[in-house]
């Protein structure tokens, strides 16, 4: 397959790196210095303007299967996709960073007229993701599937957690819930009944919302608070969108701290209820006067990793219990979590994973990625020719687990003796490495 990646920034690099392992990749950028960065990769670099017909032709757009426009400029991305479409590129994916081009609600229909098949708005994805985590009390990550019937949450097991030091089979987990993955240090694995949990582990659980609420009591032993106070440091695109999403909920008190006074005015004008403070998130005096330490959640979304980390660590010192911090450079992800940030999250990770999946995914749908792509949640259709059998007899690939079965708009968490029927949709949790095998398993399954 041939792919054209337009724009050699962080996203373009990560994409090219992943794609070049198996596909023919052309990279287009107008900066000569960018070419050097791509030197180590096995890709063809084309120097020139992204919107130039001639340059795109040189990058072989005519014969390409996909084109991904991910320069830093929305307009350039859109025009690039339009030109590529004229040249005959079958599939175009366009990155945008502003909502101007989308119809209300983040719908990209208006862009279809430019010949764009798929729009990716990393900031919106990130804001959405952080919102889900904020709304799940105590969680490090949270997703919901099958119209909310099935949820996924990730918790950290503190030293005092009743679950630490016990085997999963002995836990007596609530009905309709399942621990699908455990992260211990740098190891990420799918546990069996005999696996033992340890303090400091991060456990990923799937189940119905009701069952997961019980599970949360088991994990932390703390009851839900009525009101939550959320402090957002940094009023950029992500901060503003997150605040807009959160302030609609009456049980959340939202505070946004923004350094640039003009930007502060602008976001205060956009927000209805949230309190906007003008000041630096790393200013200890400001954090103390405004009692930021009393926040239930602190979200650091400053555009600069170092200041973001500083602000988050200050907040930790002041006593904030849960801290979610945005990371721009991939290299910093691990570092952040190591120094005590509960959730380090990157806009690019999710965006890149979703593009890759779209290019390579086949019929399986990628519902979510967790732990920066180490874990994936796929949705698979069981073929109609499939012979019904019990789940325990399903010779599923290693490192994957069926988290839920959706049958005729009803979703449930299966046990070993539940049957997999033709026409079912399976929500499967898998590790990054096993994802391809899982995809193939049902595509090639014979009756």
């Amino acid at each position: 397959m041939r792919a054209v990646v337009v724009g050699g920034g962080e996203i373009g690099f990560a994409l090219s790196q992943a794609l070049s392992e198996r596909h023919e990749v052309f990279v287009v950028d107008h900066e000569p210095s960018v070419a050097d960065r791509f030197e180590p990769l096995d890709v063809q670099f084309v120097l020139g303007a992204a919107t130039s017909r001639e340059v795109l032709a040189r990058a072989g757009v005519e014969g390409a299967d996909v084109l991904v426009a991910c320069t830093g400029l929305d307009e350039v991305n859109i025009v690039c996709c339009a030109v590529a479409r004229q040249l005959g590129s079958p599939q175009t994916t366009c990155f945008v960073s502003r909502e101007d081009f989308l119809t209300p609600g983040g719908d990209a229909r208006g862009l279809a007229a430019f010949g764009i098949d798929r729009v990716i708005w990393p900031e919106a994805q990130l804001a959405q993701e952080i919102e889900r985590i904020v709304r799940a009390p105590g969680a490090l990550d949270a997703e919901s599937f099958a119209d909310g019937a099935i949820r996924l949450v990730e918790y950290r097991l503190d030293a005092g957690s009743p679950l630490a030091g016990r085997r999963i089979a002995d836990l007596h987990l609530p009905h309709s819930s399942l621990i699908v993955a455990v992260r211990r240090g740098d190891v990420f694995f799918i546990p069996r009944g005999t696996s033992e949990l340890a303090a400091g582990d991060k456990a990923v659980a799937m189940g119905t919302p009701e069952a997961l609420r019980h599970l949360r009591h088991l994990v932390t032993g703390v009851a839900d608070a009525d009101r939550q106070r959320v402090t957002i440091i940094g009023g950029g695109d992500v901060g503003l969108q997150l605040a807009e999403r959160l302030e609609g909920d009456d049980t959340l008190d939202v505070i946004v701290i923004e350094r640039d006074p003009d930007r502060g005015e602008m976001i205060a004008a956009r927000l209805r209820r949230a309190l906007v403070l003008s000041g630096d998130g790393t200013d200890l005096e400001l954090l103390e006067t405004e009692d930021v330490g009393r926040s239930d959640v602190l979200v650091g979304v400053i555009d600069n990793d170092e200041r973001n980390l500083l602000a988050s660590l200050l907040a930790r010192q002041l006593g904030v219990r849960r801290i979610i911090t945005r990371v721009s450079k991939r290299a910093n992800l691990r570092l952040f979590e190591r120094v005590g940030i509960d959730v380090a999250i990157s806009a690019r990770g999710a965006a890149v994973a979703s593009v890759l999946h779209q290019i390579q995914g086949g019929s399986a749908r990628l519902l979510a990625v967790i732990e920066q792509g180490a874990g994936r949640i796929l949705e698979l259709d069981v073929p109609h020719a499939y012979q019904s059998r019990e789940l325990r007899h399903l010779a599923a690939p290693m490192n994957s687990i069926v988290g839920a079965i959706v049958r005729q708009s009803r979703a449930f968490v299966p046990r070993g003796n539940d049957r997999v029927e033709p026409g079912d949709r399976l929500i499967v949790f898998t590790t990054h490495e096993a994802a391809d095998k899982v995809r193939d398993y049902f595509t090639h399954v014979k009756a």
């Binding site: 005015e265 004008a269 906007v276 403070l277």
Partner: protein, 488 residues
Amino acid sequence: MRLAIVIHITGTLTRLFSPALLAPAGVAALYQEWRDVGVFLSTFVLAAIVGTVMRRAGGPAAGDVDRLRRVEGLAVVAVAWLLMAHVAAVPYMWAGVGFIDALFEAMSGLTTTGATILTDFTAFGRGVFFWRSLTQWLGGVGVIALFVAVLPRLAIGGRELFFAEAAGPTDEKLAPQLRQTAIALWRLYAALTAIETMALAAAGMSLFDAVCHAMTTMAAGGFSPHPLSIAGYDSALIDWIITGFMFVAGANFALQYRAVRGGRMALVQDEEFRAYAGVVTLATAALALLLLRDGMPFFDAVRHGAFQVLTIITTTGYASDDFQLWSPQAKMVLLLLMFVGGCAGSAAGGPKVVRHVLMARFTIRELKRTLHPRAVLPVKLGGRVVPEHTLRDVQVFMLFYLLTFSVGAAVIVFLGADLMTGITASIACLGNIGPGFDTVGPMANFAHLHPVSKIVLTLEMWIGRLEVLTVLVLFRLEAWRAARWDPA
């Protein structure tokens, strides 16, 4: 400030105003009051001559009209209104009223106040009563707005004039062009007046009375050819018709225009309109309950409650009942409403509902700021941020408004009036309402006040109609020190 230009434009406006005198001449002719026909015709000629002379004296400054400076615009509006009041006073003087009283009556007309010094209504012909109502009707949405609508040439430089005259902190335009905005505004205004005339005539009022009342209702004026005001007709139907149209006159015309054009939701969405409707409902309920307590039958209590609430809040100034005889509690409700006023961009006077809304939000904002000194706290109206300079204008307006009211009240009381008379006369004239309480109550008049009091009240009407700052800025020496004749 270039005096030549101010004189030139003021002259132009006066000349434009003069044909209005032909209408009462026609009415007088219809009722065969030949003496009054002569009076109105000669006033028309006089005004036209004065206007033309001023126009000429200002010299060939026509080209500079387009480059009118802000202070010149304010001066033109203030002086033009003063001059037009003098022109409007001439027919009263001819009918035997003294100069101070005539000017009071004329200013009360143009500014849609509705306070009167007429004691004996039988001494005047139909032409004079028509003239009283017409001056209010013309002053309601604004004389200059009318001229802008009629004269394309004025529209170019008329922006400053238009908004200096408009009621309330609004710079809303209905159409891209100022002239189209003015035309739309006047068309709606005239249409509403015609509808009310028909409604009143159908309810049993004579055609002449219906026309006069329709004009003074829509202008939120309050002059009535009947010595007992609306109470003189003693008809629930007429009361309710007028109550309805007063409510309309007190709401933003631009908003109504949009609502008529299909944007029904515009009314619900507009925060000022919601506040206005809320205050009217609340005050009516309170007043009706108080009247009920004082022994009025239920339907009369609601009818008179609603009527009096609207007549005061929209600064019309009719009376469907002698509210001077009501309990102090009921009167207190009305006294509070005197300080409210209608909506911005309406025919109503007073400080306007939107200014109160903004003041309230501003106060809450400052309270919040003490808790969060570093917070960014924009004041919003209708989801949009209100610029800080607008907030400052509103505060300054409120300050000067109350200051003017206090000075006026003090002068009137020191010149011999009783306390309640002084206070209510001052606010009734400054807010362009009309009647107050006690000796200036709804069934009384202002004729007995000290001549100096009348002059002060005349000034207050003028200041109130032009929203305080337009006039007060001209009392700054600085505005005049830099004045020169030469238009160059």
